[in-house]
Symmetry: C2
Subunit: 310 residues, 2 copies
Amino acid sequence: MIIAALAGGVGGAKLAQGLARLLPPGNLTIIVNTADDFEHLGLRICPDLDTVCYTLAGISSRQTGWGRANESWNTITALGQLGGPAWFRIGDRDLATHLERTRRLHRGEPLSQVVREFSDAWGIEHLILPMTDSPVATIVRTNEGDLAFQEYFVHRECRPRVHGFEFLGIDAALPAPGVVEALTSADAIIICPSNPWVSIAPILAVPFIRSLVAGGKAVAVSPIVGGRALRGPAAKMYSEMGMKPSALAVATQYQDLVGGFVMDHGDVELTEAIRELGMQTLVCSTVMHSLRDRRQLAGDVLDFLQAGWK
Amino acid sequence: MIIAALAGGVGGAKLAQGLARLLPPGNLTIIVNTADDFEHLGLRICPDLDTVCYTLAGISSRQTGWGRANESWNTITALGQLGGPAWFRIGDRDLATHLERTRRLHRGEPLSQVVREFSDAWGIEHLILPMTDSPVATIVRTNEGDLAFQEYFVHRECRPRVHGFEFLGIDAALPAPGVVEALTSADAIIICPSNPWVSIAPILAVPFIRSLVAGGKAVAVSPIVGGRALRGPAAKMYSEMGMKPSALAVATQYQDLVGGFVMDHGDVELTEAIRELGMQTLVCSTVMHSLRDRRQLAGDVLDFLQAGWK
């Protein structure tokens, strides 16, 4: 089965890693959100892409989910001692990624090419694509004004109340080379358990992508379990946007897009309501701690797809 | 006694440190070469300034003379693994200096202000000034063509044969704020034992500086001992420029500039020839390993100046 997966950061990366353990390299393409990329210290930083790459390469931090394993923090510590902006914690090894990516982008390479070259260097066999090679920037509309995503997410620790999102540059963005082909040729599309508002929505907002995903072969895995986000501000965002955070809210958001919905045992009582949205459901264990959990969930989702979502 | 010192990298930094141990903060200004500064990985790197600052702050590497003590190399190693340019070895802590300096320069701060702020952060009490706030770049003319200085010095390890030097941008450069004042108000000017061709010559080539140094109150300390450079390519450069490398060659180069010349015991047989150039001489131990050596040489030079170079 040929799969295209849409992923944001940590949650998406975990499922992508599970899928990569089960599918041969030619059968899996991971399309990653780049709307939370930003410029910092003169560097182009792509948090979701790096999380997916580090995770698939097996060099990500097990403690944090983001950044690299066995990391040291000497540069950012020294930068803080000089009075520089140290709120965005960049590890020493991770910093090399940003330096070298920025150098290559400045010399004119598209981001998708840089990702492919880095994937090769890290021994990643599956194809990882940025959603677009064009710069797109998530703006979070809050009670404290419009905030650049990382300003909201890292610097303000998601404290401001959200009332909307904007993806600057999205209308002028084109899917990165390979994205349309991957979505078209896939037997199924998996929307990973990433934040629907700021990880999946920007991917879907890139011109052409939404209609390709809505072609009847997509399933989504809920990032909300028992009314809580497994990670990050998704549940808080649902509340502030006027919705009760739940797997049902996620399913409702994906209503016109997916024919199948994967949810945790803890949310089994929502099955009927979600089926009423016109979706087949799979109830399984969606919380991924170990690599075994990731492979298990990936296998359950692939079985669900293979069985025709019955 | 109020002193202004001209310095390049390691040798100059050592004597500057010795002087800083003997002179109160208000009585010493160190004017540092910036012609071997360069852009690398999108960063503005100022090797001589950093060596002088790290040395005076007591955070420089004792092993190498440049870079920081207790350094780690995780970023540059990871960069090399990505296929990036890892020939210029930047340590993790050192990298913070370049990142934060570049950030401040890009936001419009002059280099001299950045150096002052970094000096404060590192607890340096003596005044360190770049020779200029304008970009100047040493080009080394060699049998393999014109090479940017760090390309010659680090990447090619000084192997090409030299036949000349050019300091790009020097005519449009102005002394950094404080430089003219420091040279004018100093009781004496010390040319540190730095490379005359590529460390001291560019400082002297900044408009106005040469004439201020030539005012009759300057002494030079030879970086050549027993026909060899204590460090770096100075001796090789003398040979390739058609001069026998020696303390005499250094003195000849500074002939119109200095009234006093400080040379090592090993070169005592050159004393008469150097005196014939119209200089007073001081023969002492000029090789600096320990901090004690540095203070000793600084004290000998200050005594020489105080005694009126007799």
